[in-house]
């Protein structure tokens, strides 16, 4: 076991996690810069596959990418070290903030600023969902549009549990695979 490599892995993941704002995709870009371009531990092509895998697996993209990079660099120990280094910075920062939050939330000025920021974050989330929605509609697939409308109504109107909605759509995906396969065989 290469302690020096593990140390480098920890420091690099910690650094990337502590200084990247803006979520999953940004962190994958930083990882490429460090692990592919600087340290040359991973090939360019492999990093692209990691990004795709991290993005399509459950959970946070940054954590998923750390798991893949960790396994590749130092096996099981590497994976655990990379994950720990990735989750420590947000844990430390949020611990401090939640302590401050409890003290300052009763302050009228802080409260007003936070209330204003709540409006801003709602605008950000809705703007992001419009961008994502446009991407789905652009595919011009009637099934995807039906899913988007159906899931929205299920959540807004009928308050269906989110997990049930997600599982139902996964099931639709599985049925689609089988349907496509049968169709291909019939044609052949």
């Amino acid at each position: 076991m290469d302690i020096k490599k593990l140390g480098k892995l920890f420091v690099t993941c910690f650094y990337i996690s502590a200084f990247t704002f803006g979520g999953g995709f940004v962190i994958v870009t930083f990882m490429k810069k460090k692990f592919v371009d600087e340290l040359k531990w991973i090939s360019d092509e492999e990093m692209l596959d990691y990004a795709a895998l991290a993005q399509s697996s459950p959970g946070a993209i940054a954590v998923n990418a750390a798991i893949l990079v960790g396994w590749k660099v130092c096996g099981l120990i590497g994976m655990l070290v990379a994950v720990l280094a990735t989750i420590l910075p947000p844990m430390i920062i949020i611990s401090i903030i939640s302590f401050i939050y409890d003290i300052f939330i009763t302050n009228p000025i802080v409260k007003l600023v936070l209330e204003g920021m709540q409006i801003g974050v709602a605008a950000v989330i809705l703007s992001v969902s419009i961008d994502l929605g446009i991407n789905v509609v652009k595919q011009k697939n009637i099934l995807f549009i039906l899913i988007i409308v159906g899931a929205f109504i299920a959540d807004m109107v009928f308050n269906v549990n989110v997990i049930i909605t997600i599982l139902s759509c996964a099931l639709i995906g599985i049925i689609k695979i089988i349907y496509d396969k049968v169709k291909r065989e019939v044609i052949e």
Binding site: L53, I61, A62, I87, I94, I119, A123, I148
Partner: protein, 184 residues
């Protein structure tokens, strides 16, 4: 047992938030606001605001935030372990499969059906957050704050038309709300 409840809740969040980042928001809302009442809707919106402004995945941020509020530092550690556990197992397995077969074809098809649903759920969570945000503020009319609506429209316009940085927009909204409250 509160630790087990935290662990189980955050395992579900980790397991079902597919597509990264924003995909976790509806699940966090369901678990922490609707099922367990660990946060009010207003606290939840604050949490999303804080998560947006700090580095780190929103799922990890919220695990720490909620864990600390409910059961102190051990709660934060347990909730965070819960949220990353599904990733550790599933991604490790996928990495193994990937190395063996160099492809994941079936996965793509399932994901293509999941993505539209996730978009709808994020939009729905955004609307719930908007409703919470505009139900407090100055110049109320029919239970809706006119100033909040105006700030929202301004923020939305700046984001869509000028592609302003989201963090900048959020901070500006906070400051504008403070100034407006002093004027009225």
């Amino acid at each position: 047992m509160i630790y087990l409840e935290l662990l189980w809740s955050f395992i579900q969040i980790g397991l079902f938030s597919i597509g990264g980042g924003y995909a976790a928001i509806p699940l966090i809302q369901t678990q922490t606001v609707e099922i367990h009442n660990w946060l009010s809707m207003s606290e939840f919106t604050d949490l999303v605001t804080i998560a947006e402004m700090t580095p780190g995945p929103i799922a990890v941020n919220s695990a720490t935030f909620v864990g600390i509020r409910i059961a102190g530092l051990p709660g934060a550690v347990i909730a965070t372990i819960g949220v990353i556990l599904p990733s550790i197992f599933i991604v490790s397995l996928l990495a193994y499969i990937y190395r063996k077969y160099k492809s994941a074809k079936g996965l793509d098809s399932i994901l293509s059906c999941l993505r539209p649903a996730v978009v709808a759920l994020i939009a729905s969570a955004g609307i719930a957050m908007l409703i919470t945000a505009v139900s407090t503020g100055e110049v109320m009319m029919y239970g809706i704050s006119i100033t909040s609506i105006v700030i929202f429209i301004l923020a939305f316009f700046c984001l869509r038309k000028f592609k302003f940085n989201p963090i900048l927009v959020m901070v500006a909204c906070g400051i504008i709300n403070l100034i407006v409250s002093f004027i009225f």
